[in-house]
Amino acid sequence: MDASTNIKWEGYSVAERDWRWRRVRENAVKAGFDCIFVPLCVDGRNLHLSLEQARGTRSDCRFLTQLDNAAVILPTDGREPIIISDQENGNDWVPEFRPVEESWGKSMAQALIDAGMERARIGVSGLRRGFYTHGRAFHGVVNHNSYVEVLRRLPNATFENATEAIGYARYVKSEEQINCLRRGAAIAAAGIDKMVELAHPGMDEGVLYARVMQRMVELGSEYYPLAFYSGLHGDGRLPRFEDPTEGRTLQPMYRIANEVDAVFGGLIAQEQQPIFLGPIPDAWQPAIELQHDLYYAGLEHLTPGRSFAEFMDMINSFGEKRGLKSQLLMHGRGYGDDGPLFTPQNRGERNRDVAIEKGCVFIVKPIAHSADGTFNTSWGGCVVCTDKGGEPLVKRTPGMVSIT
């Protein structure tokens, strides 16, 4: 892979910005909003329900402005947005913005008034969880104090949840976004290669963690914590770590699970690779083979126009004919907390009517269980939805790596 010094990427084009703004405006018009309002959102260090959710909290402003923190008022009639930010500098997309004067609440309210929204129907993104974004944040991501101040200063406007207006715009990726996710997936795969290279009995887990992160960052990824699980099989659920561990050393017959994420162009790619520090027991093979076949069956069925109801039913019933159990585990990829979200915990029931579309990118990592339920495995990576089905963004082969 290219070292970061050889990367020529200079950011998203202005055409990409206009494409995003246009899609959001179109969604807002359909929903009858006069403008879309992305208010100040709580920072991810404080609103930290999960890695994904934390990264997702200010994702709408990053999607619309490429600024790390901003509030946006995007009128649906085609006028330029008003952007407020506390950042030091603008960028190619937003060379100038309004600074925060005294408080975000006051500044955002004034901007809405200046945009002529005193009696408008205002769609607020991030007030509640959506289908496509902020799915893990049931109560949304909006900062209380500043938002209440906006409501107070615009008593005749109507404010309604509009998380889907931006969410749906984020759901389908442009070519520029897919290219960034492709590079991110390749970086994550390189991180996995580093983990496989270093993982052996006696290895300090914290050092392993640091080396994998170093590899991905030197290839140009933003820092996104590796999720690392390790332990003996049969001791219950493996513990999960999102920082380098202290006092833990890999042992023979340890299982290692992981979520290896890389961020390029602001978009989070993920690849996943189970590892076993020993010869893989025969009893695990049927589930590993099932997971392999399940993944490829999933790719075949990931076609535009299909509902997730059909897709998840296919995945969840796939293992039955082999006397095994299978489960869907997947979600969208993008700026953070992208959906729809399917986990063994939520089962994705609320997403059944969501349609798969061309240009969507997902992390697909279905789970296969052994017949007696004592073993399960998940392997996966980023997949873009094309007319012909799901296409992995980086070529890897499902399975469990055995290190002996």
Binding site: T5, W9, N46, R129, P244
Partner: protein
Amino acid sequence: MPWTQATRAGATVHIWNGYSLAERDRRWNTVREQAASVGFDSILVPLGNGVDGRYMTQLRCSALALPSDGGAPIVIADRSSHNEWVPEPWQTGREWAEPMGEALLDLGMARARIGVVGLKGGMVTHCSSIDGVVNHTALVEVMSKLPNARFEDATDIVGLARYVKSEEEIAFVRQSARVASSGLEELIKLARPGADAGVLYAGVLSRMLELRSEYFPLSLTIDALGTEKPQRYSNPPLGRRLEANALIANEINAIRGAQLTQVCQPILLGKIPDAWKPVIELHKEVYEAGLAMIKPNTTFGALADFVNGYGAKRGMKTVIHLHGCGYGDDGPLFSPRSRGDKVRDLQIEKGNAFVWKPIAMTADEKILFSWGGPVLVTDRGCEAFLKREHGMVSIT
């Protein structure tokens, strides 16, 4: 207990939680006393205020209702997480408003005066979040369940508890400072003309992770000496090699025991120009003179006035730059963008830990120098944890 445990939960995320039970009780009792002294019946650390949640529980993600009368708090957590401090929190999945409201009702707070922590930026915590950090929809739902209760800002109640560090915390501030200093040494080791700036960035981060720092972004500002608006990176620089005569300003952050500290020392890939030397010399003086003033009972107003006026006698400028060490966004915050007007009367106390890095510059502000790191306020004055020789590192 009306709230029932979520039946399905994601994997428990294990985080560092090594403070003692005595430390927990110290924190809880300090917060209770502060809350009672201003008439709050209970403190609520709601969804959104993750940093204070961690300070009070050592959990990765939590909300907490703490009665000021000495009663036990109710803690809400997710993913089946628990620890020695909080062996049996109420467990939730992704629903937080419902258990937060139930917790307050369970504690008899239906008509109480409730202090909400993180509602606004405080004097010494959440300093850069001027509108606080509280999740809107969740708090509104909580308030709707307790229509006869009063909810008011109580950021400083926990803030002032965080402001003064215990011996246990100080030990980790010290460790954290050592790790940050190791990161700086790694940066100095790797910074050479021709080096890939992204590889350099990754190498420094990796060094601190190896020393078991939790992650916090590393900030590098890299450009040729004299560049008017040098490029600042809080992610790995792409497509960039270091060039001769590049100036690398830095903020190297480390976290040990949840205590965030920072060191900074500019690095020049070349010979230090003569025009910079008086500024660096002035900086050394103002750094040390300020250090002598950082002691118990000094007000921040006095410190700021002293530092901000110090450079004039040399025909140059000096500006106070200081913030707290701790769980994150600690104050008080003094920077070129934040003058700290509302904390002028606040006094420095024994057990405070700050990042002290005043700025010295020429009158036309074209040459600017900052250097510094964590300091601890003791009985006798102030102890600096950055042990490196003052000045700019010159790599030729």
